[in-house]
């Protein structure tokens, strides 16, 4: 999201532990509320896409710029925000080679060697799972209170 704060230029202070959950929560929630405020209620899909982008952005920001995939995500977001919505790539197993498929999945994986790719995949998986947990928590908490 454009409105996402871009002050997180420092590499992750604790790279081995991964981004802190609290940081992720705050960023995402902030972005989420912003999306809800700015987008009209009619365009649900549009909002959904924006929320997804916000999720990735907050993930990338929390991870810091020390990670290749986070840099790639932010790069993609900043560049494409002007043109069109960032479409999450779904194509993967069409590639016969598994390494190629993984490269397509992990952002920024195209320019990495295999060794780095594995490392980035591990970090990416960690952040993704944290993001999913967070979003699931939000959904659960909100759903428990109302329709």
């Amino acid at each position: 999201m454009d409105s996402e704060n871009s002050a997180c230029g420092n590499p992750n202070p604790n790279p081995t532990l991964g981004p802190s959950k609290l940081m992720l929560a705050f960023r995402f929630l902030r972005a989420l509320s912003l999306v809800h405020r700015t987008t009209p209620a009619s365009s649900r899909t549009c909002r959904g896409r924006r929320i997804e982008r916000a999720a990735y952005a907050s993930m990338a920001y929390s991870a810091g710029t020390g990670r290749g995939w986070s840099r790639a995500v932010l790069r993609r977001l900043h560049h494409r925000a002007r043109r069109r919505a960032v479409a999450p790539r779904r194509l993967s197993t069409t590639a016969g080679n598994r390494a190629e498929a993984l490269r397509q999945l992990v952002p920024g994986g195209a320019g990495m060697d295999y060794c780095t790719l594995l490392e980035e995949t591990a970090d990416y998986i960690k952040c993704l799972s944290m993001q999913v947990e967070l979003m699931q928590g939000i959904v659960d908490s909100s759903s428990s209170y109302g329709p």
Partner: protein
Amino acid sequence: MEMNEDRKFGLEKSHGDHLSDHSSGVSADWQFNTPAMSAAPPHPSTAASLVPPLTSSPLLSAPVPEAFVPGLWNYHTMSVGGSNIQNTTSAIGSIPIGRPVAMSSKGMLLSTPPVIFPPSLPHFPADSGFIERAARFSCLSGSSFMEMNLLRPSQSVAPARKASKVVMETQVQNTELSMTGDKAVSLPAAYGSIDQSRMDTQRDRRSSHISNSESQETNFCEGGQEGNVDSSDVAGNSSPSDLGANKKKRTIRDMEKDQVQRGPQSSSEATKDDTETKHKVEQNSSKHGGKNGKDNSEAAKEGYVHVRARRGQATNSHSLAERVRREKISERMKYLQELVPGCSKVTGKAVMLDEIINYVQSLQRQVEFLSMKLSAVNPQLDFSVERLLAKNLRHSHGSPLSIAGFSQEMSYPQVYPSQQGLGHAGGSTMVNLSDTYRRTMNTQLPTMSGYKEPSMQMHNPWNEEIIMQMDYDANHPPNAQEINRKPDGFAI
């Protein structure tokens, strides 16, 4: 006896052509040079004159010549076949001490060729140990026997390699005599791959001297001179003659293999053979340091084929780098195995990769799905935020690390859990949360300026606060609005 010695000297010291010419000259040289090399007084007989220097050097020289003697002994018996030679053990022991010859001027050295076995002695076994010693003794210049031995342990790997090159070179020469010449051409050139800078010059020299057998000794001497210190190291390294024998055997076997596989040689073949030879060499060279073992393995591998030798060297470094890379990859795969649930029982890289890909895909799909869901869920956002934060804080309460890291990052705008708005929903929980939160924030951020008691009026402008904070930099001056002043201390 004297005649035999002279004959032996002639055989060893000079080329077949120079036998008659230099035999006397050699002995004369020896007698001439003896006083120059040590304090021992010159003796009438060459053999006797050489013995005292040997015995006078107390340190390492004693065992060394003894080690040489049996080797030499074998050669002598084999080459000359005379039993009378046995009587002159002491003399023979002094034979390899070509130092007196070497100590003379270089011109003298060249004129008196070092120990190179003429083609007329094809049966002469190319014992690398003997050749090393001969090379060393014949081509050493200016270094005393003691120094040679003393220098041995202090040599670096590079000279050792060079020395091994020289050794192999001599082996090549000898094997060349016994086998086809074209093989030998490949062998010395093979050594060029050890060290490009040195190899080029030495290879040229070697190839040049191998091409014509006459000038062998000259070139050999040159090469030997260049690496005289190295050859001393070589001799020291291979003083146990069994290693030399192993190297020689291996070389010959490699050459035989090469004979058989003269045709197109696939790299895989070469790699396989190289690894085989390398393994064997490594087994045999367990005595020496790892460096020497590596040198020997390199040398043995290079004893294979000219073209392959270079690739052998490349394969060596490649294999090392690849091994490291493979280890890194396997380490990361193991880590991924732990991350991805249900992957612990999966074995094999391919299946693991499939699992990882599926997991990443599923996670991404989940994000998409949840974002769609969240687009619909907006009401009571503040509420859910606080509850969510409460959940998170409870989770992380046991692990203060996250909070500590969080506060250190200074990017978390102060959240003021409002108790008013939450009064209707689990207020007690929130109170605890707010207390905990305040305490945490107080302790973690004591230096925050402008820190005030959490305002109770932050609930309503929650969204605005967040939005406004988004626009602020860390250096943004505090806003006039009271709402934003408080979080400004924590502005991102």
